[in-house]
Symmetry: D2
Subunit: 270 residues, 4 copies
């Protein structure tokens, strides 16, 4: 009896009279092993922090939080542009909701080749998916944070030698235009990493031997860039890409001459 | 010569041809000692994490980041609803910008009295100000995160004894209507703390002796509340307050039966 | 030429005259995909944060940081009690060092079965390995943080109904005695999770339906435990385990009636 | 009646038979406004994160956690080398314990003067006190984290122009020898900041105008230093200081060419 839940009151389903519909009700900070698409390896296994929610009509006291985890289980094998629309629809059905939303953050690894010695090692990029479905309308945002080197143009210009440089993060969020079947056009994490790296002073690498270190030191010195420059170069590239419908950029430099950061942001919609 | 900066190139002021205006350019993660208003003590000294930025027209290569810190210095004594409009105007002037923005996050301390023994101690609340000025229009948002106890109504209803409960955070952001002089009507951090605590199962206290612990244990058991309930009770209170023009609520429970959280969100505008 | 590093000065290998040997020199905060042992599935893929270091004799100016990443690459397939001794030896050789050390932190996932409905889902546990080798002596510490429910015995005793409870973390670090081949005796993450859960008021689960929620609510109410109790019960269990040579316990409760935590710690050596 | 706690069972004081004494039992993650000593301004108000604990003999079931907050209240005005010994003694008495311990972490602000324009602004340093008392023996450790610029000697040597540089943290913990009254000899936070800055490639500043930026860029280029170098220079300075009885150093560089950090550590005792 108790086993099936029969006989136990369903408090969540009781009526609410306060007249307040809630935009989102759900679970957050849930860690889960996931599989994502990898341009070279087909798929990649990683670990995600997941948030899932639905809109709650004003009539219902609460939502059934355990169903989020059940839906997550059902799809655990894959979190991709292909499965997310389906997962959101399942959330709508299982939670009896008009709106459903999922946010997934995960480290993604790419094999990087040192520029001179060609030694290979893996480097991590923080990535995210945000999928939303409202009735039949859905939206999908891909996020990537690309760590780069930035070298200050002002410091280089006004100093007789040297120039301050530092690690910075190029934060990119992109929504693509729908393809013929109405699904979002594919944009690879790898493509956004490449765009960010050519917009900065130099890429970061997991493994650099001395000839490589010489190479990236001089590459950065020859390509000075403010946070403003990196943001604008990245914006120009994304605007020219026909697949991109919307983007938000936030570039942040961990200034090597200050204990605070410099940042620039821009949002664009086609 | 070099002392005055004369003779050193002003790279930031050089012309940019990429045609990309930036929404925000500035400094972030800057720690600073500040003074804020305190309903009982008049003022309170605390420590803030500050972010300041301006919009950058497409014609200019960069902004002059050091000026943000100069403006911050100039106002260091006070960060209040009274000084923020002025500080934003100074940012507009010094940075020659149409839009200026400041975000300030800080712990705020209130003396709390235990409910039975009346013993007093200080408790911390994470607070924030976000001020924006665009031309002559300005906006000001006050944020407070109030930690509370929530006791699960479902767990209480279906169990013969006990009920799972946990610490939760009631995150509140409020924009008030302008008063006669066009400045935002005053809403005290203390008022938002009180509203959040009566919306939850019980308040948290820094210091509880046994008679107090007995009191709050039973108070929570008699006031079960889902995250949905806390969010709605809080929303009802804020909607009834004539000073409130807009609010965003996010309530999060650190579930004692799960390793993930439950949350609810709602945004409202008059 | 530059390709091979020949002709580029080896600054790190130059002589140092300050007379200060360094305990540890290395790389930290390095993210890497790893494979660890899983009692049920044989192996599990996850993502780690890695720190690797060696002792630096007083004669040398610096260590060759890129070699740490090269060694990490070489072993990337596996981070286990079986491969760690070998990896530490490789570090000693490649870095020409007497002492070598590696710290690996990673989330580990276990399939958990709800106590009544028997529904299954994955739950995460933060784990760590710390391996050290000094000459021929090596040491290996396994760490697991097990989130649990704790219900306050005082609150239950003094209140007419209810009792405050909360999520808590049982932090365990264990060094095992050497087996016949001199390697550390195997202790499974799964075993430490089980010990921690029976020491607390109730386990946490990723997925609970209402009959399960009823079960864990009442289980916690019937098993009140202070942080002191959980620490001692866990200590008793570990002391009785013949495989355990040393342990450190830190139990922390995220008190649902306070905005601060309660904790207890104990270290023991056979 | 309940008001005074009479009539309510004192569960913590009941007898424990498991035979496990606990090294530490207490409260953690407690935020509190504090006053510390300031070499120039006499005192400085800031905000601390506090942890307080005592040893628990094997006979007692638990400690009385609320007493930690009561003691903290009593001393809230001051956390200094002068008051800490007294506070620890009060903890011993109030908690009836042989050992007492307090850890306090806080941001500390210093007015810094730009090297050329002499413009002033405040910069933050993360600091800590750890005080322990065991019977009549007491120990006191001062900690300071000094952010600095480090410029890579290898990168400078092997490159035709430029050199990678980055923000780094010099983490210092110091225990001083007792003075004539048996109290720890005074060492100022300001002195440790100065030592760390001259050990690195260049100091960080909160406010730099262009002539200043030129100055620090060239200063860093002329003073290349590995993490190993900064650690050793700092170690040499501390060893020569007759007030220092023990120190631990951890220097960490947020490498601008990698997405991981480089670090060095050393511990020394007179």
């Amino acid at each position: 009896m108790a086993h099936s839940g029969e006989g136990l009151a369903d408090v969540q389903s009781s009526r609410d009279d306060r007249g307040i519909a809630l935009d989102q009700v759900g679970v957050s900070d849930l860690k889960y092993p996931i599989t994502v698409l990898d341009r070279e390896q087909e798929t990649q296994q990683t670990v995600a922090e997941v948030s899932m929610s639905v809109g709650l009509p004003k009539e219902y006291k609460g939502t059934h939080m355990s169903r989020f985890v059940e839906v997550l289980n059902q799809y655990r094998g894959e979190f991709t542009m292909h499965t997310l629309p389906d997962l959101l629809e399942t959330l709508q059905e299982r939670l009896e909701a008009e709106q459903a939303r999922i946010e997934v953050e995960f480290p993604y690894f790419l094999k990087r080749t040192a520029p001179v010695t060609e030694k290979e090692a893996l480097m991590d990029y923080e990535c995210s998916f945000v999928g939303e479905k409202n009735g039949d309308d859905s939206s999908f945002i891909l996020g990537v944070t690309v760590p780069v080197t930035s070298l200050c143009p002002c410091s280089k210009e006004i100093s007789e030698e040297g120039a301050h440089n530092q690690r910075g993060n190029v934060g990119i969020q992109v929504r693509s235009v729908p393809n013929e079947e109405g699904a979002p056009t594919m944009i690879w994490i790898e493509e956004l990493v490449e765009m960010a790296e050519v917009s900065a002073s130099a890429p970061l690498y997991p493994l650099l031997k001395r000839p490589d270190e010489r190479h990236v030191t001089m590459e950065a010195y020859q390509n000075p860039a403010f946070v403003e420059d990196i943001t604008r170069d990245m914006a120009v590239r994304l605007k020219e890409d026909e697949r991109v419908a919307w983007f938000h950029l936030q570039v942040e430099n961990f200034e090597s001459i200050h204990n605070h950061n410099a940042f620039a942001e821009v949002t664009w919609e086609k």
